[in-house]
């Protein structure tokens, strides 16, 4: 994983609550055996009209949302399945951060492991971000704050190990493998019990 230290972008707002993983990437596209190239399928059934053209009602099809890497989403983003295809698709689509007052557990875990910043902010800050689309934000992973255009800051907390891995591009499997002795010890104890 490449280090993720700072993301600077305008925001796009997807105000719907409970945007589930089936909306992020419909199940029929999960027959893939790779993790690449899913961006064009991201939000497929919402983003395109039946004739394949862009749905003008889809929030990220709005001209002002083009090129935005930060999405402010309605509460409980990413609910539903455990498919890691959801963060793979979002990243490939160009989204690098999702800001929300509450993010579904499995999605958040999957996102952070892939360098997609899934960040929980307070309900009041969330309201404000939803009400102010298109503002320029700078997310600082080291400092755990979001810099606002007026110089203000919104602070957030990332799980410390996830943050460490993001900042250093560390891969969590490598860390687990370093603990092989502990794992082997656990297995011996268990065998003896």
């Amino acid at each position: 994983m490449q280090p993720v230290t700072r993301i600077h972008s305008r925001t796009a707002v997807m105000a719907d609550e409970n945007i589930d993983t089936d909306r992020i990437i419909p199940a029929r596209f999960l027959t893939t055996t790779t993790r690449t190239g899913l961006g064009k399928l991201c939000f497929n059934d919402w983003r395109y009209l039946p004739d394949g053209s862009d749905n003008p009602a889809f929030p990220l099809n709005q001209p002002e949302a083009k090129g935005c890497a930060i999405v402010v989403a309605g509460r409980n983003f990413g609910c539903g399945s455990s498919r890691e295809h959801a963060p793979w698709a979002l990243l490939d689509y160009g989204i690098q951060a999702v800001l929300c007052s509450e993010i579904a557990d499995i999605f958040r875990n999957n996102a952070l492991k892939n360098g997609l910043l899934a960040i929980v902010v307070s309900a009041a800050e969330h309201e404000w971000l939803l009400a102010n689309p298109g503002i320029e934000l700078s997310i600082d992973v080291q400092g755990q704050y979001i810099a606002l255009p007026d110089g203000g800051r919104i602070s957030f907390v990332l799980e410390p190990f996830a943050r460490h891995c993001l900042l250093n591009g560390v891969d969590q499997l490598g860390y687990l493998l370093q603990n092989e002795k502990l794992i082997a010890h656990y297995e011996e104890q268990e065998q003896a019990a």
């Binding site: 105000a15 719907d16 609550e17 409970n18 589930d20 089936d22 909306r23 419909p26 199940a27 029929r28 999960l30 027959t31 893939t32 055996t33 790779t34 993790r35 059934d45 309605g74 509460r75 409980n76 609910c79 539903g80 399945s81 455990s82 498919r83 890691e84 509450e102 579904a104 557990d105 499995i106 875990n109 999957n110 492991k113 892939n114 799980e159 410390p160 190990f161 460490h164 969590q172 499997l173 860390y175 687990l176 493998l177 603990n179 092989e180 502990l182 794992i183 656990y186 297995e187 268990e190």
Partner: protein, 470 residues
């Protein structure tokens, strides 16, 4: 020693390294279930790093999501939805061969939905930690196992190390007091619970279901309840193991036998929340007030008694959900015209579910214009159902009797509904487009699904059950 919850007992027994401020705990995983959809990229990761799969004896694979539920044609070709689905299945077969994983594939008499076969084989046991690249892994919590869904990166972690990095979740006790009324089942109960606590009511928590009404549930019913824990956002759902659990597991292929069985049961009896142990949150539900329950919107938290008026939308998103579903505020769901009925999925595809549906359908016909699919959860369920003649009941009623798989629950194998069709489904998710683009899903129990198939409209199964009894 201080009083512990059931969750804490299982967690503590699996800590390889405790959590610190800087690092999550390393938790040992007893059983890793694998299927074709969320595993290929993880096997690739092992290959690219030159790693072995650490514990093949703790890994069990099956084919379920992308598999067709119609049999192979005369040419032996299975009717896959597309070439990619076929290749995905072939990939799992190849990966299991290469890494030495036991696969219940097409040639296995035990193949089936991953969350149905784990318990059937006795691979699911009390006190275990169980994971799978599938959010409905919470099903196995019915046995007093800590079971949860993980993403593909974590699937790779477990393959390589048999461990996961986890922060300790919070606990939520859901006490279900009283007794479920006659004709009201586990599916009604869990839909009612999710409707009550909300689609995100369990986020960050492991739920323990307890109380008189839970203790009375059969293992199949407990699985239905725990299965849908994730639909309230919970990490996992748990029920303390008891005599019902032990009786159900005894003699299954992978459980200990003889003296080892007695020792295991003695240990399993300790797996319950101690008096005085604290949960982070507690909720009480009165089982006696629950009616046949269905969903009316586009997530499982939008659930109400089928005869209750659909609540008015509180915001634009809810209004869009009602519009999508063509549900009308103030009107009950009961009586809504039905196009498709699906009985199946890891929520409701076990023998008892099929009996429940067949009990309503026996001697009756699926209404004209309604398509009904019945998909058993496993080859074992299929065998048992056919031995009882349930398949004949379904066929005589005009329903299709398929071979096991996830089928129309996730609708990635070609079993799907058409845009605008209303599906009464025993599955677990009513998300927009879940059962086919534009399809409208109403979640319900097997009895409600069958009654609705007969009536051609969402119907109260109790009216049909009484007639059968009389």
């Amino acid at each position: 020693m201080s009083a512990k919850t059931l969750f804490e007992k299982i967690w503590d027994a699996h800590v390889v390294a405790p959590e610190t401020a800087d690092t999550p705990a390393i938790i040992y995983i007893d059983l890793h279930l694998v299927h074709e959809v969320t595993s290929p990229q993880a096997f690739d990761e092992l290959r690219s790093r030159g790693l072995k799969l650490r514990r093949t004896d703790r890994t069990l694979a099956t084919l379920d999501h992308s598999t067709p539920t119609l049999p192979a044609g005369p040419d032996g070709e299975r009717p896959y939805a597309n070439a990619e689905a076929k290749a995905q299945v072939a990939q799992l077969e190849e990966n299991c061969r290469e890494f030495g994983v036991e696969l219940h594939g097409w040639d296995s008499s035990e193949r089936g939905i991953v969350h149905v076969i784990g318990p059937e084989l006795g691979a699911t046991q009390p006190g275990n930690t169980i994971v799978c690249g599938d959010s409905h892994t919470s099903t196995h919590g019915a046995f007093g196992a800590l079971a949860f869904g993980i993403g593909t990166t974590e699937v790779g972690h477990v393959m390589a190390t048999q461990c996961l990095l986890q922060r300790k979740p919070k606990t939520l006790a859901i006490h279900v007091d009283g007794e479920l009324p006659k004709g009201v089942g586990a599916k009604d109960l869990i839909l009612h619970i999710i409707g009550h606590i909300g689609v995100d009511g369990g986020t960050g928590h492991v739920i323990e279901y307890r109380g008189a009404a839970i203790e009375k549930l059969s293992m199949e019913e407990r699985m239905t309840v725990c299965n849908m824990s994730i639909e309230a956002g919970a990490r996992a759902g748990l029920i303390a193991p008891d005599e019902t659990t032990f009786a159900w597991l005894k003699g299954r292929p992978r459980v200990p036998q003889g003296e080892a069985w007695d020792r295991a049961v003695a240990h399993w009896r300790t797996l319950k929340t101690d008096d005085g142990a604290q949960y982070d949150r507690e909720v009480r539900i009165d089982a006696g007030t629950i009616k046949p329950t269905v969903t009316y919107g586009t997530h499982p938290g939008m659930a109400i008694a089928m005869d209750a008026p659909v609540p008015a939308a509180r915001n634009a998103v809810e209004q869009r959900a009602l519009d999508y579903m063509q549900s009308r505020a103030g009107q009950p769901m009961q009586g809504s015209k039905v196009d498709v009925v699906f009985v199946g999925s890891c929520t409701n595809s076990r023998l008892s579910d099929l009996r429940e549906a067949a009990g309503v359908l026996r001697g009756r016909r699926v209404a004209d214009g309604v398509r009904m699919l019945v998909v058993p959860g496993s080859e074992a369920v299929r065998r048992d159902a056919e031995a009882e003649g349930l398949h004949e009941v379904f066929r005589a009623a005009g329903a299709e009797w398929r071979i096991p798989g996830c089928s129309m629950c996730i609708a990635m194998n070609g079993d799907l509904a058409q845009p605008g069709q209303l599906v009464v489904s025993t599955s677990n998710r009513n998300f927009e487009g879940r059962q086919g683009k534009g399809a409208r899903t109403v979640l319900a129990s097997p009895a409600t699904a069958a009654a609705s198939a007969v009536a051609g409209a969402i119907a109260d199964p109790r009216e049909y059950m009484t007639e059968v009894a009389a």
